[in-house]
Amino acid sequence: MKNCFEREHLFAYALEMLEAQDKLEVRQHVAECARCRGVLEEYRQLDRVLDSWQPLEPSPWFDARVRSKIAAVEESLPSLWGRVLAGLGWSRWMAPAVVTMMVVVVSAVMVERRPGLLPDSFTHIPGGANARSPANPPSPMSTPEMAEERTGGAATLDDYDMLASFDVLSELPKPGE
């Protein structure tokens, strides 16, 4: 018969890979063409042969093994901090530096909030951010009077000209004395 289809086209028909219009054309043709019907039959026979390759059943413990693998993966996941650091792409050596920095910051905050933790001279800056206010009364152990007693009087420290002209060599014993 004339106008027979290519094998590839008949194959596509046999495996249902043709669009509706093409499928209809092939169907009408093979109804009248023994040769093309023979080609289709070859593919159907091959298909039946391939069917005899039987499937393999999953083992009864398949699901349990999947669950066990998932549990193992979940357990091996890094801690939240580890994931954050990993997510930021930081190198491992950065982690101790970050921790140290955090400790320093936390310590500073604690000192700030608890004035009695360190001697007053460490935290009190006259006129500064820590200047005493009614809400921030002085510690009984660090009144201005006590501070003046320890330093010998604020006037001594304020006399910068005297300190500038101080000659340490003048205090040494002179030769022959």
Binding site: R7, E8, F11, A12, L15, M17, E42, Y43, Q45, L46, D47, R48, V49, L50, S52, W53, Q54, P55, L56, E57, P58, S59, F62, D63, R65, V66, K69, I70, V73
Partner: protein, 197 residues
């Protein structure tokens, strides 16, 4: 109760629903084990690879995007794993048995492992021989042709979906299948002739 689609289940898995993951596991474990058993022969390895697919699905659940059919995604993972396994085994030149390892014992067809089939010894031998011929013929196909045949014939995956899994055009899949079937038709002619008798 309506059967939930893979997509619906996977979207629930993404939200942390483990029951939905179990449902996907029950639905796809047998097809995946079958797929891998035909790709790599070794039943133990086939199970391991199928389990690995589920593990990867679970690990990727939070990033799952329903852009394609769930099975397309599933078999893309499976195809990559199978390809790696085949390459690994091929690279082991010292493998003692066959190109992919002869882990299925000859004379023991897979049908014997099915609970309902109780063939006679003669039937088992005939079946084993047929399976060996088919397996050898399919394994001798080039990788992409083999993938296409196994996905289309045994996993019943549509050729359009196979195109997405193998990342080739739809016409390329048709061509791959045609060439594969032509080769198989020639190699399996003795079995086809038996069917004609």
């Amino acid at each position: 109760m309506a059967i939930e689609s893979d997509l619906e289940l996977m979207l629930r898995v993404r939200r942390g629903d483990t029951e939905s993951f179990e449902a996907l596991l029950r639905r796809h474990r047998a097809p995946l084990v079958n797929y891998f058993s035909r790709m790599v022969r070794d039943p133990a390895l086939a199970e391991d690879l199928a389990q690995e697919v589920f593990l990867r699905v679970y690990r990727a659940r939070e990033h799952y995007q329903p852009e394609a059919a769930f099975t397309t995604w599933l078999y893309r993972i499976a195809a990559n794993l199978a390809l790696n396994a085949i390459r690994d085994r091929k690279s082991r030149a010292e493998a003692p048995t066959g190109p992919l390892g002869e882990d299925f014992r000859e004379g023991e067809p897979s049908v014997a492992r099915l609970p309902d089939s109780r063939p006679t010894v003669e039937q088992r031998l005939i079946q084993a021989d047929r399976e060996r011929m088919i397996r050898n013929a399919v394994e001798a196909l080039p990788d992409k042709q083999r993938f296409a045949v196994i996905l289309h014939k045994y996993q019943e995956v549509d050729y359009r979906q196979i195109a997405k899994i193998l990342e080739v055009s739809e016409s390329a899949v048709k061509s791959l299948l045609f060439r594969a079937y032509e080769t198989l038709r020639a190699r399996l002619e003795p079995l086809i002739a038996e069917g004609r008798i």
